[in-house]
Every structure is written in C-alpha cells, then in structure tokens.
C-alpha cells in the first residue's frame, strides 16, 4: 500500500470534515482536479454545515412512505438492480478517497472480477472465503496505516481526543466517517454499537487510536461498504418497483461517473433532498464530468469495452497508445462534447515521438507528446489507434476473424456464437485450407464453406480491410516474413460496401447507423452492472438514445445526463430469482 497525502487540511472553512479531495494515483494525476468549492453551488456550501446532517440520520429503507407511482411509460423503463459488490478497482478508489491509502495490491488480494466485458457484473459475483479473508486482511492493513500516521488519522477523525476513552470524539468520528464509508448516515443505534464494541479497546490498550483502528476495520468489512445493496420504498400500485432513497441515488451517480464512493458534496445533496430534482441532477452530473475522475472512468470503460485493458501493462509504446486513446476521449467526449462517432473521424491524434514513428507519422516537435495530423496516411480516429488494433490477435499475427468479431460484437452489439461442435472446428489451430503455405487471405478461404460462412462472412471481411495494420498497429504491405504475400487491404462490411483501412471503415460504420445505439447499450450495461438486458432496460436505452441524439449523433455526456436525471434512475425493480 502507498499513502497519498497531497490533500488539504482535514477541516474546511465551516468547521466540518473536509471532503477528501486530492490527487488520485496514476490515471488521476494528469489533470488538475477542480477545487472542491468549484464543484459546489452556493446552496450546497451552506448545506455542508454539520447541522445539516442531524436531520437526516435514520435507518435506510425501514418503513419509508409509499411513494406516488410513476406513469406506465416510466414504470416500463425501471430496471432491475441487484446487490453489487465493489470491484477491486472500485474498492481501491473508494479506500483512497476515504482515508488516503492506496491499496495498490487490492486486485492481487481480492478475488478476480470476472469480465463480461466489464468488471462490475454483479450477476457473476460470489461471496467466498477468498473474499472474506482478503477483505479482512486489507481492512487490518488499512486501519494500521491510517492510525499509525498522524496526518492520515487527523484527516479521518474530525476531532482531537482529549483522553484515551474520549467518547464524544469517538462518536463524532463514527458518525462523520461512517456516513462517508457506508454512503449513508448511520442510525443512532449503529453509532452506539460501534462505540460499545470498540471504545473499550482504547481503554484496554491505553490508546484512543486502537478504538479507531477497530472501527476502521469494521467499516472496511461492512456489507454497506462492500456492497451497493439498494433498498427502496414501495411505489403505489407498482409492487415490483421501489423508489430509491437519496443516498442510494448519490451512490449510483458517483460510481457511474467516478467509479468510487460519493464525495461529501454529493452526500450533502442527498441529505438536502436535492437528488430528487432533475435540474439539480443534471447540474451535478455536469460538475462531475468536469473532474479528472470522469476521464479515468471513461477511459477504463473504453479499455474494457474495446478489449485493450491489458495493454497498459505492456511496453512503453503500449503506454503511449493508451495515453493516445485517453487524450482522444478527453478532447472529444469531455472537452468538446462531440458525438461518440467523432472518435472514429478524428483527423488528429495525440502521440509521443516514438508512437508517431511507429505509425509512420511525423513526430511532434519538442520531444514530448502532442497532437499531430494524420494527413494522408490513411489513418483516422480510434480504429487506427494502436490500442484498438492490438486488442485482439491470434496465431502470432493479426486475426481478421477476431478483429471482425470485435467490431461486430462490441461496436454493433451483434451476437456471434462459437462454432457449433458439429462443424468439428478446432479454434486453437490456425486456418490452413488446402495449402498450408498459401498466403493468409487464401488460407482463410476455408471459412467460406457452408456452415462456417454464415458467421465468418460477418467477421473476416471486416478484419481483412484492416490487414495493412499489424498486431501493434504499424503499417505493413506484406504478411510477416512473407514478402511474396502482398496485403490487399480491402475489406467489406456486409450490406454497406467495401472499404480500405480505418478511415473508410469508420465512414461505413457511421453510415450503417447502428453504432450509436450500441454505444448507449454498452454504456448502460456498465452503469447497471450486468450484461443481460430485458425489455425494461431496452425501453430506457431507446429513450436515452433518442434524448442524447439531437441530430448530430449520440453524445455520451448527454446519455449520462439524461440517464442520471431520469425518473427510472431513482427507482429499481425487484430482481426475480432465476431471471
């Protein structure tokens, strides 16, 4: 674990524990974070006052009033939600934001999150001894890190203990930190339970911080920290629906946009009842999109979606490629607010000199990374990025099938199954055809036979149109070690025509018109934490696509804003066992 301490004092100007806004590790470091005050409206600043908490303490979901039912149209858009355990990445971010300790080994200690393709699919999560033991181990280490460091513990505990068993200070710590850790106010009984259980540890050990250590261990193992288990109030006339409490809505927003626990200002907005106001929700979403954590979240979403998540673990060139794509996302999605498909049409790219050379582009001046024009290189946008082009490969080279599969399934949301066993295809062996020494395009002709062609027609021609770009995205004119095999580089997208290279493929894809809906559906899957969508999900996705496309193409920021401010976002549908 590593500590990050570059945040401000633990107490803000109104005497409450400050939101622990600080420079996050790794991906968060490139852009300066907006100061907390810039994120808060004047009304919010006033609501931060400690007293604002007092009126909203209570048990979540216990006997909430029955809310008025939504219209049938809205009710049909309310999605199922299940208890979601924080992914290892979310866990690491949440711990860092809460106590300033970077649990860099969380992904090693906690059970691996299964990708579908995202790491937050709650339908794939299973509690296990591996989870419980890992969480207990990490909780002990986090608590020890915090309580042994005066800077860290001073930021976590909002008061100075006056004695070993300073009950008032301990209760204040439990109340204030508990709301942040469990993402909801603690009830009086919960504060009492923490105090009764752990304050005696301070007395026994003659050390106030021993009790804090015990409490931190409990918070970081608590089901309300580890899981996002949403509990709502009944909805009149809709027994299968629940209206979420404001703190659950705050968590939904924060994990969707930042991938971490809600900051204080969001919890305060929840406490003030502001998260029932659509305009306020749009405003908050906008503010959070301006934060560097939104870029980190957006980048991670794309990396898992387009299968280049593992690329950053590779060479320095691979790191440059990830930065290139992140820069494009930042400029087009967050800064210029362009439609998602503009990523496919970008005429400039952000490259280091090494990456420019790799691509055959003119290196940027000055020795550092900068935006350069693609010129007439034939490259254009995301499809010509090394990140995308290196995402899938097979048999030691590019795989036209795998590239085609990636585009069809991830960017057109098509379902293409594995070959059925009756075809007796060994997918572990490269295609050979009648002549194993033939050039690649000829060897792939074996997939044009009956039975194989129905699927491979959708994939292989797409990949062959990108064959001039090798498995790391460099341009080539012949097959590897086969100068006698020139690459034609012509592909086709069934039903839309032929193309040559990323630029022409991008235009065909955009003209096909299905990409936007797939982008929205994929983003929605990430938001709800499951792959399978039902008719309620599809109804909401259709609404989001319509609302986020104002004739210029679908904008991700609009999808998010529409989703976060929608009435279905503040509701949930009971999950039916077995569905």
């Amino acid at each position: 674990m590593q500590q990050q301490r570059n945040w401000g004092s633990g107490v803000d100007r109104v005497g409450c524990p400050a939101t622990m806004e600080r420079v996050a590790p790794r991906t968060r470091a490139r852009r300066a974070r907006l100061p907390v005050a810039a994120l808060l409206s004047a009304s919010l600043l006033t609501s931060i006052a400690c007293g604002a908490l007092a009126g909203c303490v209570g048990e979540i979901g216990d006997g909430g009033a029955v809310s008025t039912g939504p219209s049938p149209e809205i009710a049909a858009q309310v999605a199922v939600s299940g208890a979601r355990r924080l992914s290892a990445v979310e866990y690491r971010s949440a711990v860092f934001d809460l106590v300033g300790v970077d649990v860099s080994d969380a992904a090693l200690v906690l059970p691996t999150d299964e990708r579908t393709p995202f790491d937050n699919d709650y339908t794939k999560q299973t509690a296990s001894q591996a989870l419980i033991d890992g969480v207990e181990l990490l909780a002990g280490e986090i608590a020890a890190e915090v309580t042994s460091d005066p800077g860290l513990r001073g930021a976590v505990v909002p008061c100075t203990p006056q004695s070993v068993a300073d009950e008032a200070c301990f209760r204040e710590f439990v109340t204030v930190f508990g709301r942040r850790a469990l993402r909801r106010p603690l009830g009086d009984d919960e504060v009492e339970a923490f105090t009764t259980a752990f304050l005696p540890h301070a007395v026994t050990d003659d050390d106030f911080w021993t009790a804090v250590d015990s409490a931190l261990r409990a918070f970081f193992q608590h089901p309300s920290f580890l899981y996002r288990a949403e509990i709502g109030s009944p909805v009149a006339g809709q027994p299968e629906l629940e209206s979420l409490d404001d703190f659950a809505v705050a968590s939904r927003i924060s994990f969707l946009l930042w991938g971490t626990t809600p900051p204080d200002f969001l919890l305060d907005a929840a406490a003030a009842g502001e998260l029932r106001d659509e305009a306020r929700l749009r405003e908050l979403a906008e503010l959070m999109l301006a934060d560097e954590r939104a870029l980190a979240r957006l980048s991670r979403f794309h990396a898992m979606w387009l299968a280049y998540e593992e690329l950053s673990a590779g060479s320095s060139l691979a790191v440059d490629m990830v930065r290139e794509t992140e820069a494009l996302l930042s400029r087009h999605i967050l800064e210029e607010r362009l439609p998602w498909t503009s990523l496919l049409r970008a005429s400039e790219t952000f490259v280091t000199p090494a990456l420019a050379t790799h691509y055959g582009l003119e290196a940027p001046a000055g020795g550092g990374a900068a935006w350069v024009s693609y010129g007439d290189s034939g490259r254009q946008g995301l499809l010509s990025h090394g990140s995308f082009l290196s995402a899938v490969s097979k048999f030691g080279d590019t795989s036209p099938t795998q590239r085609g599969l990636l585009i069809q399934t991830r960017l057109f949301c098509q379902m293409i199954n594995h070959p059925p066993p009756e075809l007796m295809v060994n997918i572990d062996m490269p295609p050979e055809g009648p002549d194993p020494n033939a050039c690649k395009s000829q060897r792939y002709d074996m997939w044009k036979t009956d039975g194989c062609a129905s699927c491979h027609t959708l994939m292989d021609p797409v990949g062959f149109g990108l064959e001039n770009y090798d498995a790391m995205g460099a341009y080539r004119e012949t097959e590897p070690n086969r100068p006698d095999c020139p690459i034609e580089g012509v592909g086709s997208l069934v039903g839309f025509g032929e193309f040559r290279g990323p630029a022409e493929l991008a235009e065909l894809m955009i003209s096909a018109g299905d990409v936007d809906a797939c982008v929205a559906r994929t983003l929605y899957r990430y938001a709800v934490g499951r792959f399978a969508l039902d008719r309620h999900d599809e109804a909401l996705v259709a609404r989001l696509v319509e609302a986020a496309d104002l004739g210029e193409g679908l904008r991700i920021d609009r999808v998010i804003s529409e989703y976060v401010s929608s009435e279905p976002f503040r509701m949930r549908r009971q999950e039916v066992i077995g569905e």
């Binding site: 992904a107 090693l108 990708r115 591996a130 923490f194 911080w209 309300s224 009971q574």
Partner: protein
Amino acid sequence: MSDRKPGADRGSSSGPTRRRFLRGLGGVALALPFLELYADKPAVAQATTKPKRYVFAFGGTSLGIAGIDRVSPSAEGALAGQLSRGLAPLGTAGVADVTSIVSGLKIPWGADGAIPAGGRYVAFHSSTPCPLASGVRTSPGDERLKGPTSDWVLAPTIAGDTKNPVLAYRVQAAFYRGSNGTGGTRGMLSARMNGATLEEVPPVSSPRTAFASLTTGFIPPDPADAARARFLLERRASVADLVRGDTERLIPKLGAADKIRLQRHLDELRALEKRLEAVDLPESCVVPGDPGDDPAIGGPVENGQQGSGGGYDSMAAYSDEEKRASVFVDLIHFAMACDISRIANLMFTYSQCFLNMNPIYGYPTDLHEMGHYSMGGGETGANAVADGVAWHVKHWANLMKKLRETEDFDGTSMLDSTAMILCFEGGLGYDPEQDQQGSVHSSENMVVLIGGKAGGLHKSPGQHIRKPDHHPVEVINTAMKALGGPSQLGEVSGTIDELFV
C-alpha cells in the same frame, strides 16, 4: 493518552503490519522447509482421534502428443522401476512407493441430449473438469460444476471441527488470455451443497491471503507475545461480530435475490468468526514465515505468440507460479500438520492452461500450446508435454513428501492417514469433436495418481494399474472409501480395489 508511538504494535492480521514484518524478516523464513521447522518436535495434531486427510489436485493438461505418451508407464506393475518422464518427480521426492497411477481411464462423451452419466460434451475444453471433479455429466456450453466435489463430499466424514473444513487454493493466478480475468467458471474446481443449493467455491489464489487466514487464531507461547496476539484477536473477533450482526440485520430488508447473495456473504462471515477463535499454539506447531507480497500478475499472451520475439519470451502469462505452488504446498502441509484443516482442493492450473512454460522449463510457449506442436511433434513434443505434467507432479509429490516426513500425534507418519489425488484435464486418444485419433483433445487414456496410505492404500508399493475405459472418478471414489467416505461421487460409482492390495 499513552505516550507510546501511535500505532505501535497495532498490526495486521498476523501481528505487526505486513510491511514491518517483511522488513524484519526479509522474507527469509519462507525458505525454511517445514521439516526443519518441525525438527525434533513431537506430533502436532490436537485431535483426540487420529485425523484422516485428503488432497484433491488438478492440472489443466493432457498427456502427450500425436499418440505419444511420455507420462503413462509402459508396463503394469511396480511403479518405482518405471517412472516415466512425467512421473520422474515421484522418484526425486522419494514417494513412488506410496503412489500409484491408474491409466487407460476414460470419461465418456455425447452430443447435446445424449451425454452419458458422468460424461462430457463432445467439445473438449473445458468439458472434463465437471465430471472429473464432481462425477456429474457436464452440459453443452456450460463449464460449471454440476455436483459437489469430493473435497466437500468428504468433509462431513473427516473434517471434524477444524477451522477450515476445506482449503480451496488455485496456483495459476490468472487465465492469461483475453482480459486475463478468471476465465469464467474455469477458475473454480470446488463445489459444495448449501442446503439444497449447489455452490461453487472460488479458490484463494493469493498466497498472502492464504497465509494470513491460516495463521489467524494462533496464540504464540511467549507470554508477552501471547497477550498482544490475544488482544488483537479479540479485537478482530469483535469487529467480525459487529459486521456479522449488521449483515444479519441488513438481509431481511433485501429482495429475494439479494437475500441469497448476502446470505452467502453471511455464511462466510460466520466461518471467519470460527477462524478467529483463539487457539494456543502447540509447542510443536510453528507458524511458517510470511510469504510476503504476492507476485505480480503476468499479462495475457494471445494464441500463437510463442517463439522468438513472442510474448512468451518475456515473463508474460506467468505470475511466479513456481513460488505460488511452493507456498500453497507449504501452507497445506502446515494446515494439516497443525490440524487447521484436513482437506485441500489444490487447483494447480486452469483447464486449457495458458501458463507460460518459459520461466519453468525454458519452453517459450504455454502448456496448452505444447499439446498443439508449439515445441514440435514426435518425441520432442511429447517430452515437452510430459515436462508440463511433471511440473504438477513435482509439487504434488513434494506435499506428499512433507506429509510423510511429519509425525502424526500417535507417532506414525501423517501420510499413513492421508489419501491424495492428482488428475489431469485430458488423456490421449480419440477426439470426437474432430473425429481424430491420437489427439490431445481426448478423454481417453486418462490417468489419475493416488498417493498415501489411508485406509489400507498402498499396503504394497505403488503400482501402475491399467483399467481401460473405467471412469477416472473411480480412483477418487477409492480415495474417499479409504477415508471412510462414500464410494460414489455424483453419477459415478465403483472403486479400484487393487489399490488396497
């Protein structure tokens, strides 16, 4: 307020913080073999009756290439004189006399709707682990276990009141393909019944977590250390108690599906509370050295990137599984020697294993690809595959050696009351998917290794026994029978009674 340095002696699960601990010991203790840790010390077990112990281990590989098998001995009879390349580590560890190999085994197959009892679907990967580990036929396109595995089936019979009824560990840290995640359900090879519900049990793949968990609850003999350890344990127990209580109060407020999810979490919390019960460290039971931080996870390597300049030239697809295997073997031995657990499910590698063999044997390829000629065919390829098998055999044999050299509480060897199984994903023979003979994608001519002397096993020295077309689970049934358990696993009944001769 105390004037002690804040946080002093306030530690992680095993006393001082991990970082301090490592600084203090430099991680050297790991290198100490357990035999030395127990040298000149009496028996360890605290049980009032002699415990029985069981190890189920699995390797995700087949046995040869193009019909050439360098794992199965050529002749039946005594094993010691005919250790193949794949079985050579049995000789190195000196356990060939207490190990037998049963060959010629077969998992039957069938198409959708025609899969026989204990059988597999015609597509090979990963259709054998389910019938192999649970004795229940698999389903097309579904790699999940369909029945409880032998480790959990035996638990009611032999686990007793141990803190860990079953240790489920996985050595291979990641799938090493695609997103490098769990590989779906392939990463799990242990399943149990919870009431009427079948639960797959995700294994612990972090040696550090496994170490911390196993050493939980021990109170060292030194009075000062003991007081400190006892206090820390009490605090951890009170934390677990509060968390468990809050989980119990949360569950009734949830919908039906979430109730099931959190109930499972609650069950695991209750198991943690049991592990947090204090146990005075027996004089003879020495807590091993901290294994330190887990080795970093290696990245994925895509199919075919072996050879010069490919991903396997680097340390990709490798997370120091050599160390991980050694640590898990040491921890299983420790757990059994100190009677923390009597049953282990040790999944060495995933089925269709993409573990990089370069750091282990200098083969710039993965285990799976070796079966597909990546190191050549004929004798060369078959030897490479046998080496891959031997890597599993080596660690399995080392565990057996450690158990053999550890005295049980009655003065006998611990291996006398232990049965161990090592099985592999495939054999070598007909591949119904490709309609091909001599294929690595085959569940014909499979082998299962069985070790130990529990219940009358290996009255005679280890044997090579051919049982053509018998199901591999019959060997597992034999081990269960030797331990006083049932003679049937899932849909497969029958035992190999020659092993009791």
